[in-house]
């Protein structure tokens, strides 16, 4: 059930209506049922995977929580016994209590490790088995071994990367004592499967989502209306911009030999626009639907294309994924025993600046490698991830140089310099995204290189762009749509655009505005017969 299908829209209308009609006690079970119905339509066989991940992480969370409760009780008991003098110092003394506490923590860590390993194993098997086979075959071929391993027929369950990460974060947070484990299996199952965010995030944390998810919300016209406004805006981005530009992107990358040089630049720009409109549009729909149900979901974007550098860009793009990698990979690696040892060693043996940075870069390297491979089981994504790492590392290493430059040239508050920085970020990110587009890494480098070796910028004006599945009128719609997108982003710099509209525009005018926007989607949206139903790009990750 694609977000852009009639079935999905019918499903949401029915679910929202039922949610507000049903008695309080039936609300969250309805959401669970709805989420599983939604997932069933994504593929009935996939239910097995989500159930598997849910059961594993639920049990792990519960065991950790029970162990903690038992350990705390025993710890208090030991303290009491020592106080009352009923136990020996060897059995209940400070040292014994410390040993006991550490032992129990180790047990919980073991449970956590088993839980997240099993959950990640499911993800690894379905997502990376064939990639592993591909690489083994590559190695066999390199050593002229004639034997090849056959690829397995494994379909990637929709949203598995998202819900697995969400479930893993739950287990870790229970271990870290950030919140209690959820004892009700079905409530936990709802947290993992909550349908609006199931297929492309945001990756929510249990502590952020659970309270509102299980709270029975009563109908409020304002809440539903605001959610609907967000949904409409999301559909505008997805259907009017992302899906309209899609044929041109596909045409340009399907026969790369025909579209070199300036056309690669077009791929960069078109794909950046498509991906942004597609992903942020999908997230707007997700957040809007959740909002219609009274459930606030974390924001995932903060106008990323206004970032002045790539590190900032990644703090503003797919925020919940970025914070997930920071909290559950970067920090644990940074404070792990081996890393602390390395840190100590490098500070002692390397120059001061380098010594401080080596452990950070090593942890960053792991994070970006994981980010890359999380996006897709291919070298393209790995190189893309590492490309981000390299750019961030270089820009950090060049910081002293930048500082010297800024000492000489005052750029404080300069709009021109800020625009330069934003433009540079857009170009860098768009160039890196070429790895998403072309079929393999060498081809991507080759095509990128043609931008500097094939000087065919004039070809952009000779009508070739009109043979990519888009006519003049389509480009006009795209241009106007992008201007609107930009204008809304600009307006959003100083706060929520919906809040501003609510304050400044009387209700009939606001209504008119969104009616026109809806009409624009209905008329100019790329959907229905004659268009290929396009799923959201992030669904496949």
């Amino acid at each position: 059930m694609l977000f852009t299908s009639y079935e999905f829209i019918r499903f949401v209308i029915l679910l929202v209506a039922l949610y507000y009609v049903l008695p309080k006690k039936a609300k969250w079970p309805l959401l669970l049922l709805g989420s599983y119905v939604f997932y069933y339509y994504a593929g009935s066989k996939y239910l097995f995977y989500i159930l598997g991940v849910t059961v594993i992480t639920y049990v792990a969370g519960l065991l950790i929580s029970r162990n903690k409760a038992r350990a705390d009780a025993r710890f208090s008991e030991m303290k009491q016994l020592e106080k009352s003098g009923e136990g020996s110092a060897e059995e209940v003394g400070k040292e014994a209590r410390k040993r006991y506490k550490e032992g129990q923590k180790k047990t919980r860590r073991r449970i956590m490790a088993i839980g997240i390993t099993l959950a990640l194993l499911i993800l690894a098997v379905v997502k990376y088995t064939n990639f592993t086979i591909y690489n083994i075959n590559g190695i066999l071929s390199a050593f002229h071994v004639p034997k090849r391993i056959d690829f397995l027929t494994i379909a990637l369950p929709t949203g598995i990367s998202f819900y697995t990460f969400q479930a893993v974060s739950y287990v870790i947070d229970v271990y870290r004592d950030r919140h209690e484990a959820q004892k009700n299996f079905f409530k936990y199952a709802l947290f993992v499967s909550f349908f609006p965010q199931l297929v492309q995030g945001p990756i929510s944390r249990y502590g952020d989502l659970s309270k509102e998810l299980f709270t029975p919300h009563v109908f409020s016209g304002r809440v539903v209306r605001r959610g609907l406004e967000r949904v409409i805006w999301g559909y505008f981005k997805k259907m009017v911009i992302a899906d309209r530009i899609l044929p041109a992107v596909n045409a340009l990358i399907e026969t790369p030999e025909n579209y070199k040089g300036a056309f690669v630049f077009c791929v960069m720009m078109f794909y950046a626009l498509e991906l942004y409109a597609d992903f942020t549009g999908g997230i707007d729909i997700t957040i809007g639907i959740a909002e219609m149900l009274g459930i606030p979901v974390k924001e995932n974007f903060e106008r990323p294309f206004f970032s002045k550098n790539i590190a900032e860009y990644w703090r503003r793009w797919h925020i919940t994924m970025g914070t997930w990698f920071t909290d559950y990979i970067f920090y644990p690696i940074s404070v792990s025993g081996p890393m602390l040892k390395l840190s100590k060693w490098s500070r002692k043996h390397l120059p001061e600046r380098m010594g401080k940075r080596v452990p950070v870069y090593l942890a960053s390297f792991v994070v970006w490698f994981t980010t890359g491979i999380w996006h897709g089981a291919s070298w393209n994504f790995i190189v893309w991830g590492l490309g981000n790492f390299v750019v961030i590392m270089i820009s950090q290493e060049l910081e002293p140089l930048y500082a010297k430059f800024h000492k000489k040239v005052n750029t404080d508050g300069s709009t021109v310099y800020k625009s330069f920085q934003i433009g540079r970020t857009i170009l860098l990110m768009s160039a890196l995204r070429l790895f998403d587009c072309y079929r393999d890494v060498p081809l991507t480098f080759k095509m990128f290189g043609t931008m500097f070796t094939t000087w065919n910028w004039k070809a952009l004006g000779n009508g070739t762009l009109l043979h990519l599945g888009l006519g003049r009128a389509d480009y006009v719609i795209l241009g106007l749509g992008t201007i609107l997108l930009f204008a809304v982003s600009m307006a959003g710099r100083s706060g929520s655009v919906r809040d501003k509209l609510e304050k400044k525009l009387p209700m009939p005018l606001r209504w008119g505005l969104f009616t026109v926007l809806l009409l624009v989607i209905v008329v100019f949206g790329a959907y229905g017969l004659g268009y290929d139903a396009s799923q959201f790009i992030y669904n496949q990750f």
């Binding site: 909002e291 609510e502 009939p508 026109v516 209905v522 017969l529 004659g530």
Partner: protein, 373 residues
């Protein structure tokens, strides 16, 4: 307990019209405000609906230019009086029978509810739809479409069904007709289907935005060109000589419906040379008609000998369809049988009907002479 508490979101001040209903309305002024707001929301809903409807009307194909068949279905509702004869079927009825000839020669008020590649179930539902308004004496069904047992083509579906007035019959017709990639919602809101015409709009779309011309002559699609019939492609070997289950199911339903309403059903095979009408199909039809006590006429067999069709003059597309002279000959032949067999007396003495037909005849003669309006 969390379940017992109201959410933080729902506690947000409800300030606008849509949200007012959640607030207490115990006081008179509160109630008055709520009523005002509800009225405002309703008014805005109506206005928004009108906006969408206007866009919908603009974007729908008008079928007033080169392809006009899509306009035929809706023209039925504008026709005058109850009909003596109602034709249902595909292009072999709406191009091969002249309703004007039936009026001129026999005084019969007839209408053709035919469409391009109109499938049996579409003919059935168009008949059922017509019976909501009238009960003709005779229904003539052209059997060629029995060769199709599955939905065929979205464009033809739309041409046959878009013009129908909404009723349970239309709903059923759509359900029976939809191809795999079609969706009911796009029939309910045609703008969802035709939205992509925004960059194909022509002056025709604006001209016929709200009102269309009548392009047929009581469902008859007049053609004046002449293209002699040539050699037809050899027929492909026939596998199963029986018609499909779904096709026969709807023919059975048509027979039952006509019996229930006391209507004489006549099955015909129009004298078009292509697609090939197999002998086995003909035998099946004869047997079926005999079993059900229905008249079946294979006009193809007797086209030249009894009807007087000259395939070098009476077809406009090399034998696939009749031109106006061929259609008039077919109508004369069939009309005579209907009058004689079912005692249809005609309405020449009905002044109002004569007036209606005079107008149709005037247009018809002009079109026949090549002077379309």
């Amino acid at each position: 307990m969390a379940e017992e508490k109201d959410s933080t979101i729902e506690n947000v001040a409800v300030t606008d019209a849509a949200g007012e209903s959640a607030k207490g309305t115990s006081t008179k002024s509160g109630r008055g405000k709520t009523i005002r707001n509800v009225a405002l929301v309703l008014a805005l809903l109506v206005l928004s609906g009108c906006l969408f409807y206007l866009a919908d009307l603009l974007l729908r194909p008008k079928y007033m230019g080169e392809v006009t068949e899509g306009a035929l279905t809706a023209e039925y509702y504008k026709a005058y009086g109850d009909h003596d004869v109602l034709f249902v079927g595909d292009c072999e009825v709406y191009e091969n029978f002249s309703t004007v000839q039936l009026w001129r020669e026999f005084g019969l008020n007839s209408f053709i509810r035919g469409g391009a590649q109109q499938l049996v179930w579409q003919s059935y539902y168009l008949l059922e739809d017509a019976l909501r308004y009238e009960t003709p004496d005779v229904v003539v069904f052209n059997v060629l479409s029995l060769m199709y047992n599955e939905p065929q083509n979205e464009a033809y579906n739309r041409m046959a069904l878009d013009g129908m007035r909404w009723s349970r019959t239309k709903w059923n017709a759509i359900k029976a007709s939809m191809c795999e990639d079609e969706n009911m919602i796009e029939y309910i809101f045609p703008i969802l289907r035709y939205h992509s015409r925004w960059n194909e709009l022509t002056s025709e779309d604006f001209k016929y935005w709200f009102k269309k011309d009548i392009i047929s002559f009581n469902g008859y699609y007049l053609r004046t060109e002449i293209m002699p019939a040539g050699e037809m492609p050899p027929p492909r070997a026939l596998g199963d000589p029986n018609f499909g289950d779904k096709a026969m199911e709807y023919l059975d339903k048509m027979v039952a419906l006509c019996k229930e309403k006391g209507i004489h059903l006549v099955l015909i095979k129009s004298p078009s040379l292509y697609p090939h009408w197999y002998d086995e199909w003909d035998e099946n039809m004869e047997k079926y008609a005999e079993e059900h006590g229905i008249l079946y006429i294979n006009m193809l067999e007797i086209a030249e000998s009894e009807i007087g069709i000259d395939y070098s003059l009476d077809t406009y597309d090399a034998g696939l369809h009749m031109n106006v002279t061929g259609a008039e000959k077919c109508s004369s032949y069939l009309g005579k049988i209907l009058v004689e067999k079912y005692g249809l007396s005609g309405h020449k003495d009905d002044a109002k009907m004569a007036e209606y037909w005079a107008e149709v005849e005037e247009r018809y003669d002009a079109a026949k002479a090549g002077k379309t309006e």
